[in-house]
C-alpha cells in the first residue's frame, strides 16, 4: 500500500455548493472567486494543450463564460465545479489547438504537481491517460500510437484512473473526495 498523494488545493464540497448558488444568482463576485481558486490551473491546462498563450486565454475566458451562463443547469450529483470547469477548458482547448500543437501535446507535458501520482502508474497506464487527456486521442488512436490493442488501452485507462483515484485520495473519501493539501 503506497501512501496517498495529497490532492492539489480545491474547495470543499459545501463551499462548492455555496459558490454554485451564488453563480446561479448572478453574483459576479462568485465568478471572481472561482477564477481565484482555479484560474491559474485551468490556464496552465489550456496552455499545455494549445501551446499558444492567446488561444489559451480565449479558451479560459470562454470556459468561465460557459460556467457563468450555464450554472443554473449544472446538476451533477457528486460532481465538482472544478471538474466541470476543467472538462470545459480541456474540450475547448482540444478543439481550438493548431495542428502543430496537436503533435506536441500528444506527448506528455512536463509533469509538475501530479507527477508523483503519475510516476507510480505502469508505463502503458500513464501513457494512455496522458495521450487521452492532453492529446485528446481516442482509445483506438492511443492503441496505434503505443502499438497496443484497443482492449489493452481500455483496461489501462480504467486501471490508471482507479490507481490515480487511490493515490490522490484516501479510500474513505472516494465518494466525495476532498482535497487536503498542496503537493
Amino acid at each position: 500500500m503506497v501512501d496517498p498523494v495529497a490532492r492539489p488545493d480545491a474547495r470543499p464540497a459545501d463551499d462548492d455548493a455555496r459558490l454554485l448558488a451564488r453563480l446561479v444568482a448572478g453574483d459576479e463576485r462568485a465568478l471572481g472567486s472561482l477564477y481565484d481558486s482555479y484560474g491559474a490551473v485551468v490556464y496552465g491546462l489550456a496552455l499545455a494543450i494549445t501551446q499558444d498563450p492567446p488561444t489559451a486565454e480565449s479558451v479560459v475566458t470562454d470556459a468561465f463564460a460557459d460556467v457563468w451562463r450555464e450554472a443554473r443547469s449544472f446538476q451533477r450529483p457528486g460532481a465538482t465545479l472544478f471538474a466541470w470547469l476543467s472538462h470545459t477548458v480541456r474540450s475547448l482547448a482540444l478543439a481550438r489547438r493548431a495542428p502543430s500543437a496537436r503533435a506536441s501535446t500528444a506527448q506528455p507535458p512536463a509533469a509538475s504537481q501530479l507527477a508523483l501520482a503519475l510516476e507510480r502508474l505502469a508505463p502503458v497506464e500513464r501513457q494512455s491517460v496522458e495521450l487521452a487527456y492532453f492529446g485528446g486521442l481516442s482509445r483506438s488512436e492511443i492503441a496505434r500510437a503505443l502499438g497496443e490493442t484497443e482492449v489493452t488501452v481500455a483496461v489501462a485507462l480504467r486501471s490508471a484512473m482507479e490507481r490515480l483515484r487511490d493515490l490522490v485520495t484516501p479510500p474513505s473519501s472516494h465518494v466525495t473526495p476532498r482535497m487536503v493539501a498542496n503537493v
Binding site: L47, F64, W68, R69, E70, A79, S91, L118
Partner: protein, 263 residues
C-alpha cells in the same frame, strides 16, 4: 452491455471512438450506476489538469473573464436570496405601494423612534434600487428582441412545433436564445448552435447553451466574428456536443430552422 461498462474510464476521458459513442451515450442516459462511475472517473480525470506545467495566468485575464460574463449574463437568472421570481414579480407590482406604506410607517416609527424608521427606509431604498436595476436589465432584453435589425429563426425537429427560437440583434450584435421543452443536456454535454450558409463548406458555431431542469433557457450570446463575417446565413441548427462545444457538428442536427426578419 458489460463490454460497454468496461469503457467507463475511456468515456469519462472522451477517449472513445465515434462508432461506440452513441451506445455509451445511451447507456449513460439510462443507467444510474454507469453515470455514477463515469462521474467518479471524471472527477479523477479533472485532477490531470494539475499535471500541466504551472504557469502564471496573464494579470488581465481575470478582468477579461468578468467583463465577458457581463455580456453573457443569463436573462432568467435564478432566484436571489431576496425573492423568488414569482415573488419578485409581485414585488415589482406592489413596489410603489410598499414605498408608500414605508412612508406611512415612517410616520409611525417617528413616534416610536426615528432610527428604526430610517433603517426601514434604507432597506426599502436598497430593494427599490435593485428592482429598478432588474427592470432596466429586462428593458434592455426586450429591446434586444425588437427593432429593425433583428432576425429570428424558429428551430424545430422535422415538422414538429418549434422548441427554440434564436433572435439575432444586429445592432447589439447578440443572439438571444429562447428554448423550451428541450431536455437538459446530459453530463459533459452542451447544446451548440450553428450558422449555415450555402457559401460556406461547413457550419460556423454560434455558441453553446444548456437548458434548466424544466427544459427552458433564455440566454444572450455575443455574436462571434466568424458568424459576422458570413454574408448570408440561411439556416440555423442545433446539435448536442461535448461540454465546451465542438469546432464542427459531430451529429446530425436535432433542430433546424430558416432565418427570417422579425417584421
Amino acid at each position: 452491455m458489460s463490454d460497454l461498462r468496461a469503457l467507463a474510464a475511456a468515456y469519462a476521458l472522451d477517449a472513445v471512438d465515434a462508432s461506440e459513442r452513441a451506445a455509451l451515450d445511451a447507456l449513460h442516459a439510462q443507467d444510474a450506476e454507469f453515470r455514477r462511475e463515469v462521474e467518479a472517473f471524471r472527477e479523477v480525470g479533472a485532477l490531470m489538469a494539475y499535471a500541466a506545467p504551472t504557469v502564471a495566468a496573464p494579470s488581465a485575464l481575470r478582468d477579461r473573464i468578468l467583463g465577458e460574463a457581463r455580456s453573457v449574463r443569463s436573462i432568467t437568472s435564478a432566484p436571489t436570496a431576496r425573492a423568488t421570481p414569482a415573488a419578485r414579480s409581485r414585488w415589482v407590482t406592489v413596489a410603489p405601494w410598499l414605498a408608500a406604506a414605508a412612508c406611512a410607517a415612517f410616520a409611525v416609527f417617528a413616534y416610536n423612534g426615528m432610527q428604526q424608521a430610517r433603517d426601514a427606509m434604507v432597506a426599502l431604498s436598497g430593494e427599490l434600487t435593485q428592482v429598478r436595476t432588474e427592470l432596466q436589465e429586462k428593458d434592455r432584453t426586450i429591446t434586444a428582441f425588437m427593432g429593425p435589425e433583428v432576425h429570428v429563426v424558429s428551430l424545430a425537429e422535422g415538422s414538429n412545433k418549434p422548441t427554440a427560437r434564436v433572435f439575432w440583434n444586429h445592432t447589439r450584435n447578440v443572439f438571444i436564445v429562447t428554448a423550451f421543452n428541450i431536455p437538459r443536456a446530459p453530463d459533459g454535454k452542451t447544446y451548440q448552435l450553428w450558422a449555415i450558409s450555402k457559401a460556406l463548406k461547413a457550419p460556423v458555431s454560434m455558441g453553446t447553451f444548456n437548458t434548466d431542469e424544466e427544459g427552458r433557457a433564455t440566454i444572450i450570446v455575443p455574436v462571434g466574428t466568424d458568424v459576422n463575417a458570413i454574408d448570408v446565413v440561411e439556416l440555423c441548427a442545433m446539435t448536442l456536443e461535448p461540454a465546451g462545444g465542438s469546432p464542427g457538428p459531430t451529429e446530425t442536427p436535432r433542430l433546424v430552422g430558416s432565418w427570417r426578419h422579425t417584421d
